[in-house]
Amino acid sequence: MNPFIKHSVRFILFVLLQGLVFGQLEIDFGIQIMLYPLYILFLPLEMGIIWVMLLSFLMGISIDYFMNTFGLHASASVLVAYLRPELLKLFSPRDGYESYTEGNIRQMGYTWFISVFGIIVVIHHLYFFLLEHFKLTELLYIFRQTSLSALLTLTIAILSQILFFKTKKIT
């Protein structure tokens, strides 16, 4: 499929999924599932960082419209986009990324995906909740909320890929 169409469809899918499904779930302990950082990770690996940031900003704003968070999601996702190249560099495979098209679990393997997406999710959630509460006296609450939400988001990200991604042979 044309990568432009593929990523546009994915964009809409992720926004709707976040706004209409995950955003509507009310779980105890302040847990919030935020799956859209996965979209940022799935953008083409060789894509310019400025484009990645602009797309993430657009995605964050669209979700802000749904959730009435007024720019909180946008700020957090732009941060993730900004840190993405550094993270990719840190965890680059021995022969670089040239033979890979995108960072999903089928191509990169479990260890790579869990470490990269785990770090992304923890940074994203921690930043998001710190900004949302903006209160240092409630750090314990924020940490608990972050760790529980991050765990749940990571699990759903892995499960969704096992379910919906075709196994591709790397040539």
Binding site: L16, G19, L20, G23, Q24, E26, I27, D28, F29, G30, Q32, I49, I50, M53, L54, F57, G60, I61, D64, Y65, F66, M67, N68, T69, F70, G71, L72, A74, S75, V78, L79, Y82, L131, E132, H133, F134, E138, Y141
Partner: protein, 282 residues
């Protein structure tokens, strides 16, 4: 000039990052500090219509509870209706007098979307400017308070829920008439319990007494039920009670609400402003 261009090129990525962060954070913090600028909220009609499509499916989940709530509201309405009373003395006739004037107008609306476990919770309802809804109107359900209208578009409105960190609603404990403010904090971890602050600890507050609105803000009619006092604890170092109120309506299952239009609100406010100014001049 050339230096500047070179600088811009070198830090291009960081500058774009900074710019996007500034846009997002200005929007967010201007809401937190001065609730005036209103970007990115779900009263925008495109997003609101998507959410109401979603609601077309999810509204059926709570129908049973919703039915019971509506039945109770009807029962209450029947009780107050003039037809349920029989004339005791037949030699009197009822005359439409001018002693009573309508003060509160109830506009029915439906909650399309809402959050309950965030730090700041909002609802989207399906009535807007075209139904004469304006910002800062009270919203109630038949069981209790829901929130205050925050922003309106033509056909939708965003309501600041009473589960919002910056909401202060004046209420009083029934019969004792001790007045205080309702405040909600996420750290209590329960969308059914809310704090009542500002009641001095020399007033005894019996557990289980009703908490009702005072009507002094003009947003809600007086003596509208809010909930029941659940626990009363002294705060150390403060001559105040820490009171937890259990809300009478569960916001998580509330669907049908009423937006309250106070017809005399402008009059009340004008009078209060006038009194304030005269007091200043003296």
């Amino acid at each position: 000039m050339r230096n500047l261009i070179a600088f811009l090129q070198r830090f291009r990525i960081f500058l774009v990052f900074l710019l996007l962060q500034i846009i997002a954070l200005t929007s967010y913090f201007s809401i937190v500090n001065y609730p005036r600028t209103k970007w990115f909220n779900s009263s925008a009609s495109f997003f609101a219509s998507l959410l109401s499509m979603n609601h077309q499916v999810t509204k059926h989940f709570d129908l049973e509870i919703e039915n019971r709530v509506l039945q109770n509201a009807l029962k209450k309405a029947y009780k107050e209706s003039i037809n349920t009373y029989i004339p005791v003395k037949t030699n009197q006739i009822k005359v439409n007098d001018t002693l009573l004037q309508l003060q509160y107008n109830y506009v029915p609306a439906t909650i399309k979307n809402g959050t309950y476990t965030r730090k700041d919770n909002f609802f989207t309802i399906d009535k807007g400017r075209k139904a004469d809804i304006k910002a800062d109107m009270g919203v109630v359900s038949s069981n209790g308070l829901v929130g205050i209208v925050y922003d309106v578009s033509d056909y939708y409105a965003v309501v600041k829920s009473i589960l919002h960190s910056s909401i202060n609603i004046p209420v009083q404990v029934e019969k004792i008439n001790a007045k205080g403010l309702l405040k909600w904090e996420i750290y209590d971890n329960n969308p059914l319990r809310i704090k009542l602050t500002g009641i001095s600890n020399d007033i005894p507050i019996p557990r289980g007494s009703n908490v009702v609105t005072t009507g002094s803000s003009g947003l809600f009619p007086p003596n509208y039920s809010v909930g029941k006092v659940e626990t009363v604890k002294p705060i150390e170092g403060k001559p105040e009670w820490e009171i937890t109120v259990r809300l009478s309506n569960d916001l998580r299952t509330t669907q049908n609400v009423f937006v309250i239009e106070n017809i005399l609100k402008t009059e009340q406010h004008e009078l209060e402003e006038k009194a304030k100014q005269e007091f200043k001049e003296e």
